[in-house]
């Protein structure tokens, strides 16, 4: 097949468009989430993720997460050197499926919660935290 100039333009622009279609942060976090869920689709709305809007000290950022009907919740921080934060598995004696803890954030970033529900479906919530002083040493 002979490549004409017109075909060349069409194929190359298609290639560029597909590149631009990728999210800007096709990051380690997304890979980890895909690994966790096995590529299942993520619903939204069931998780309540409470984070401060601005954290002055990235060493201790209070995080609150609740998801009625969840079996487990996994937390990620997408701007940390290692995005994993914690995995919380709820036992039969936990009625509210909620927990709060304190985490380290290296810089301004999103905190992501992914929950596996009792019916096997997945839920996600994301919240941005602005960090004044990072919390991972240097």
């Amino acid at each position: 097949m002979e490549l004409t100039r017109r075909q060349m333009l069409v194929t190359s622009s298609a290639a560029i468009a597909s590149l631009a279609g990728l999210p800007a942060f096709a990051s380690a976090t997304d890979d980890l989430i895909a690994e966790l869920t096995g590529g299942a689709s993520l619903g939204e709305g069931a998780i309540t993720l409470g984070t401060p809007e601005i954290a002055e000290n990235g060493n201790t950022v209070p995080v609150e997460v609740a998801c009625p009907g969840a079996k487990s919740i996994t937390l990620y921080a997408d701007g940390n050197p290692v995005p994993n934060v914690a995995t919380i598995n709820f036992g039969p004696l936990n009625p509210t499926k909620s927990a709060s803890t304190r985490i380290r954030l290296a810089r301004t970033q999103n905190v992501v919660a992914v929950a596996q529900m009792e019916d096997g479906s997945w839920q996600m919530a994301k919240s941005e935290v602005k960090v004044t002083i990072g919390g991972c040493g240097g």
């Binding site: 201790t60 934060v85 914690a86 995995t87 036992g91 927990a99 304190r102 985490i103």
Partner: protein, 109 residues
Amino acid sequence: MAKGVKPRVKVPKSASAGETITIKSLISHKMESGQRKDKEGNVIPRSIINRFVVDFNGQNVIDVTLEPAISTNPYFQFDAVVPEAGEFKFTWYDDDGSVYETSKSIEVN
């Protein structure tokens, strides 16, 4: 065993049967992330608590896997339902193999 590890938990002394109570737990631990460097530029090796489990009379309440992104002196607050009088058992697992345990009993009135 890491130095100065002291677990502290707050559980109400009594509850009515089937009541939902809030439990707070804290353990003093430096949670060295493995990301920091000392003055000579050597990486300080990771030393964290990697798992925290709470059971009530043998039934699980919460089981948390901790990563280095959990702050120094890991703190957790969560809810539990109390079906009968008994004992909450808290267990923390350290990277170095140590296990820290504490328990609190609760009465039902």
